[in-house]
């Protein structure tokens, strides 16, 4: 018996240790409380900015508002950092709404479409400031006509009797199809089965993809997003001067000059700048160039062109 007792003491000691250890582990297992602030959120934190004069910038509703915030808010952030002013977006529910905002003074500058600009400059005190460069560093863009990749439509001539989806009646792309492209192929709008306008360029693409429409017209930058995803480009317009950033004519020139300087400084061949434009809307990936009101004069004809020419 005396031989066994050290053994028994050892065993009971070890079991006690084991139970204590188990209890400890159980507690640590069950205590799941934790704090983790390194959670991926939708955006980087909102650094405190000094209170500065705010310049409101409008954007025509060419895209859905969240897409506009995604692509345009970084430009505002950049401008706020690079100029002594605070820049903020003001979105609208329609193309015309942006013009009204300008009239009311709700916004001092705006991203307009080429067509809308041509129309608005006739009766509103605005001047264009800058226009974006394309991937060849040219200040142009193209409107394109698209169909589903598997569509039998091979040329504009095949569009007769088909359903056509267009962005806003005030978009250049829509006007180009109806007033230029169709006429070049001897068609008229009335030869189509139907024409429908949608709010956003992306909606046009989705409608074509869904098969609700046989063809659609959008900016090249939007069509390129879908060329590998079921969309085929049917026709491309001549180069069109890029959608301008405009300011109200009476805007303090120090503000417009500051905007100009900041945005012209962007050169994406410089890796620092490339980082800045990373989150910008693709239309502005390649920077800007100075825009003169006269740059757009040659396009004036599209305003007056009739949809019903032979």
């Amino acid at each position: 018996m005396q031989m066994k007792s050290p053994f028994a003491i050892l065993i009971s000691g070890l079991s006690l240790l084991f139970i204590a250890l188990s209890a400890l582990i159980y507690r640590s297992i069950m205590d799941i409380s934790s704090v983790d602030t390194a959670v991926p959120s939708l955006a980087e934190s909102n650094g405190d900015r000094a209170v500065k004069d705010t310049v409101y910038v409008g954007v025509i509703s060419r895209f859905s508002p969240n897409l506009i915030y995604e692509g345009y808010q970084p430009i505002m952030d950049y401008l706020s950092d690079a100029t002594p002013y605070q820049f903020a977006l003001r979105l609208s529910s329609s193309y015309e709404e942006t013009i009204s905002q300008l009239d009311r003074g709700d916004i001092q500058a705006a991203f307009l479409g080429t067509f809308l600009y041509l129309q608005a400059r006739q009766s509103h005190p605005i001047k264009c400031l800058l226009k974006p460069l394309n991937s060849q560093f040219q200040p142009y863009f193209h409107s394109v006509l698209v169909t589903r990749a598997d569509s039998p439509i091979q040329s504009i001539a095949d569009l007769a009797g088909k359903r056509l989806a267009l962005p806003s009646p005030l978009s250049f792309s829509g006007n180009w199809v109806l007033k230029v492209a169709l006429q070049e192929h001897g068609l008229r709008a009335s030869d189509l089965d139907s024409v429908h306008y949608f709010g956003f360029h992306h909606t046009v693409i989705y409608e074509v993809l869904r098969g609700n429409f046989d063809a659609g017209a959008v900016k090249d930058r939007v069509a390129e997003e879908f060329t590998n995803k079921g969309i085929r480009i049917l026709a491309v317009s001549d180069p069109i001067p890029g959608s301008p950033i405009i300011v109200k004519s009476d805007l303090d020139s120090t503000i417009s000059n500051a905007m100009k300087t900041a945005l012209l400084k962007i050169d994406i061949r410089n890796p620092e700048d490339k980082k800045i434009v990373k989150n910008w809307d693709p239309e502005f990936f390649f920077g800007f160039t100075i825009a003169q009101d006269t740059d757009y004069d040659q396009m004036e004809s599209i305003l007056t062109a009739s949809e019903e020419l032979p």
């Binding site: 959670v39 939708l42 955006a43 900015r49 508002p65 969240n66 915030y69 995604e70 970084p74 979105l91």
Partner: protein
């Protein structure tokens, strides 16, 4: 019971502990790995739900802001629908960019007064995933996501997910692994216990076998065969036993030869005495024959002389018979003998030597001495050896005292004391060694006392010696009355 400290036991205990510790470590690491897997999974799940939901809320806020969407209570509706479908979502709260609550899934616990003071309730830019115990909902996994696009903020979404189910899972996991570990430890301990038990059992069996071991018992060992160290030990023990038996056989052989040699030596020493003993009757016979030859017709004289001659021949025959009896060699044969008779028998062989020298013989023989069970020839040898040594111890004259006595119910004893030269102290513990002698070559073999000791011990008796140089020596022998074995 065999010591628990044997090498093998230690190794087994050490091994057992090692296995148990290893097992516990493995269980712990598995436990923590699964735990982090469960928690991480839950966190990711909650985060992705919250992110998806926040995208929707953000879109709704932006559309409302742009005037594209004018549905009343749209967000509230969505929150309630969402919660109805996701029972793991405990609460959803929406704050504006100033940190004030805009929409809550649960207004029951809200201090409205506090709310109205417009105090900042949350930091709308802070994104966090927190797990904590709330008084209302129990364990909650809370996700805070700012509704933000780049630097533009629309506020913050706060969603609470049920974390009690996760704790339930962890609890289950713990007890599963715990019982698994306990079970495994029990199995390991039992296995080790039985291993030790088997080991110690066969060891103690071996020890018992060794204790009971008897060279005379030729029965083989009763040990189960095993191929471990114990089996090895058993085989070797058996081999050793056989070698022991072998050498004991050789020893007995050698002892027998020694015995024989000593006996022959004693006979040689007796020879001169015996020759004298025979010589006297022979002279008498010769005288008788001479007288008869001289007067062959004196019949009465012839008859007397023939009777005398006959007596002489009888005497010679008796002496020869005694000598033959002494030299006779045979296995131990126990009979009931009278020690006194044996003493007289040996003395008769020595009679001549004693008479020759001027040695006084004193006898104190107990007349009622009980018979003892012993081999008469061997006892004679003992007496002969002791008496010869006593005779050898004298320079010229001296006295030999022979005493017999009953010691107790079981033993008798005899003493042979002389007044000879005595034994030096340094030799006292050597005299029983074979071949130890102080006598000149040819006279002493050094075997006498060793053979004597062997015979006495064989009969279960004992010898004691007392000696003083120059005064004398006394050998006291005790013998059991009944043979023990």
């Amino acid at each position: 019971m065999i010591q628990m400290k044997s090498l093998k036991t230690r190794i087994l205990i050490f091994l057992g502990l090692l296995i148990i510790i290893l097992l516990i470590l493995i269980s712990i690491s598995v436990l923590y790995q699964w735990r982090s897997l469960i928690v991480e999974n839950q966190r990711r799940n909650a985060l992705s739900i919250a992110q998806t939901f926040s995208l929707y809320i953000l879109d709704a806020l932006i559309y409302q802001e742009s005037g594209l969407l004018q549905a009343e209570g749209l967000i509230e509706n969505h929150i309630h629908n969402f919660m109805a479908k996701n029972d793991q979502v405990k609460f959803i709260e929406l704050y504006d960019q100033n940190g004030h609550a805009v929409v809550r899934s649960d207004y029951s616990n809200i201090d409205l007064e506090n709310e109205k003071t417009g105090k900042l309730l949350v930091d709308p830019a802070e994104s966090a995933l927190t797990i904590y115990q709330s008084e209302i909902y129990g364990w909650i996994l809370e996700v805070k996501l700012p509704l933000q696009i780049h630097s533009k903020s629309w506020g913050l979404l706060r969603m609470g997910f049920d974390a009690d189910t996760m704790r339930h899972k962890l609890n289950q996991l713990f007890f599963t692994l715990f019982s698994f570990t306990i079970l495994f430890i029990a199995i390991v301990m039992t296995a080790i216990y039985f291993r030790i038990d088997r080991l110690t059992r066969s060891l103690s069996q071996l020890v018992a076998e060794m204790n009971d071991f008897d060279l005379n018992n030729m029965a083989p060992m009763q040990m189960p065969a095993s191929d471990d160290e114990i089996g090895f030990l058993v085989t070797n023990f058996e081999k050793m036993t056989n070698r022991l038996r072998q050498s004991r056989k050789q020893l007995l052989q050698a002892q027998k030869q020694m015995h024989q040699a000593e006996k022959l030596a004693s006979i040689g020493r007796l020879a001169s005495g015996v020759a004298h003993e025979i010589n006297n009757p022979l002279h008498g016979l010769k005288s008788c024959l001479y007288a008869i030859e001289k007067e062959p017709h004196n019949l009465p004289q012839m008859v007397r002389y023939l009777a005398l001659a006959n007596e002489g021949i009888d005497h010679i025959a008796l002496i020869v018979q005694k000598l033959l009896g002494f030299s006779h060699q045979q296995a131990k044969q126990v009979t009931k003998i009278n020690l006194n008779e044996q003493i007289n028998m040996v003395l008769s062989l020595l009679q001549f030597r004693i008479e020759q020298s001027r040695i006084l013989l004193e006898m104190h023989l107990e007349s009622q001495l009980p018979l003892i069970e012993a081999d008469p020839h061997l006892i004679q040898e003992v007496l002969m050896n002791l008496l010869l040594n006593a005779l050898d111890s004298f320079e010229a004259d001296g006295k030999i005292t022979i005493t017999t006595a009953t010691e107790n119910d079981h033993t008798i004893g005899f003493t042979i004391a002389d007044t000879g030269c005595g034994i030096a102290d340094k030799n006292l513990d050597k005299i029983f060694d074979p071949f130890f002698t102080t006598k000149e070559e040819g006279r002493g073999t050094g075997l006498g006392l060793s053979v004597t000791l062997g015979i006495v011990e064989m009969h279960g008796g004992a010898i004691q010696v007392q000696s003083t140089v120059g005064i004398g020596t006394s050998f006291q022998v005790t013998l059991p009355i009944e043979e023990n074995r």
